[in-house]
Symmetry: C2
């Protein structure tokens, strides 16, 4: 079994801890956290540590903390020449202190603590400084996911930016949709099938081909009636900018 | 069987024609189109007409044309006191000429001609001027969908505006995500699980609770590194505006 230590207790660490405890290929040795209460009930007490000097020898140390804290945490590790990886989409591999062998595995998914996710369908983006470490990381990841991609630091950054557009910003548009429903006493659930179809449609058509609606049709009458309808200036502004952006694509 | 006539051959009409031909409760009598070639192979030739005076007597006439054309088309119908409905999300019921009994059924879904949709899960928003007609429309719709909601013209408009946000604008963000992947030689399919999870998550959490990412975390370093990464001014501008909009929600 491959011995793994996780450092951190954020959303990604939390889900990794759960999944790695189930995996037959992985022995989750310890989890290092600032506050041991953050993992109470999730992990046996003897596996939870709060001090660097208590870290045992493992095959992989997974740093899953705020992006900004990766250099400091990796510098604080009291050993060298071991495999240390981070899980950040937007941080380059060299944010990890160079005294250890370095790698990255970035799970491209949105994690909330109170929502289970199916790990087997999560794509993991892998990078390592040397091929032996890549193979070891791949073995660990393949025991929890079917989708493992070799992605370098620059590509990973582009993916992370793209993920902000297709996840964080998309979710914000869902929020606006739900607010509009609430204001007008309409159940938001009426929109669920539309939301799901929009997300699935792009498997068969490119988003460019899949585009519909008043902006795409250049249906100015509908666009104007929607702008009239929107009383919230922020929503009105977003409506205008996104409509214009859709129409700019058409003109290319 | 309820006798139905469809007027129009756009995306919605096209899918209704397919589904209504399969329904045991519905007899699709005729489809009136401008250009009979638009339905070649979809419908027997004797059911396709191009002239108003050839319209036969039916229980419901469904006008499924561009929003702007609804008044003109409904005025052109050579009869009165029959049930005439439109399928527009953004047009009030009274856009239909008042010589006939009026109704609306708006299928809240995104339709592309070359992409099949599962009608049974599409929510239909129904409105009628009188209760008898509402019941008739409900019977027709329940033969092709499990989800039928009573929604008045004002509520329907709010739903249509919300649908533009959660479908058209969301799809545009998918387009931007796919362009960023293409530019950096990364397969867009890596993002599919994230896109689907984002769409499904809001069944269990409100979009407000489901929000994640650098904007929500107020992680300025990541936001700035993403803005640096984006070379396209339009994408940069959208990134800034949507980040700000997410942060405005937090402050409420």
């Amino acid at each position: 079994m491959i011995k793994v230590v996780i450092i951190g207790s954020g959303n990604v660490a939390f889900h990794l801890i759960g999944k790695m405890q189930e995996s037959a290929a992985i022995h989750l040795l310890q989890v290092l956290v600032r506050d041991e209460k953050s993992l109470a009930g999730i992990l046996p007490e003897n596996k939870i540590i709060t001090q660097y000097h208590l870290l045992e020898e493992a095959d992989i140390y997974i740093i899953s903390v705020t992006d900004n804290a990766i250099p400091e945490v990796s510098n604080g590790l009291p050993f060298s020449n071991r495999l240390v990886v981070h899980t950040s989409g937007t941080t380059a591999i060299d944010a990890i202190a160079s005294k250890n062998r370095r790698g990255v595995f970035y799970p491209l998914q949105t994690f909330s603590k109170n929502k289970a996710v199916n790990f087997t369908t999560i794509p993991f983006c892998l990078e390592a400084e040397n091929e032996m470490d890549y193979v070891l990381m791949e073995t660990v990841l393949k025991s929890i996911s079917e989708k493992v991609y070799r992605i370098n630091s620059f590509q990973r950054k582009s993916l992370h930016v793209a993920a902000v557009f297709v996840c964080n910003f998309v979710n914000h548009l869902y929020h606006i949709g739900s607010e509009l429903c609430k204001e007008n006493d309409v159940p938001f659930e009426i929109l669920y099938p539309l939301i799901e179809e929009t997300a699935k449609k792009i498997h068969d058509l490119s988003p460019l081909e899949a585009q519909t609606g008043p902006a795409k049709r250049e249906d100015t009458k509908t666009v104007n009636s929607h702008l009239d309808f929107l009383k919230n200036d922020e929503y009105k502004n977003l409506y205008q900018i996104l409509t214009q952006s859709i129409q700019n694509v058409k003109k290319l």
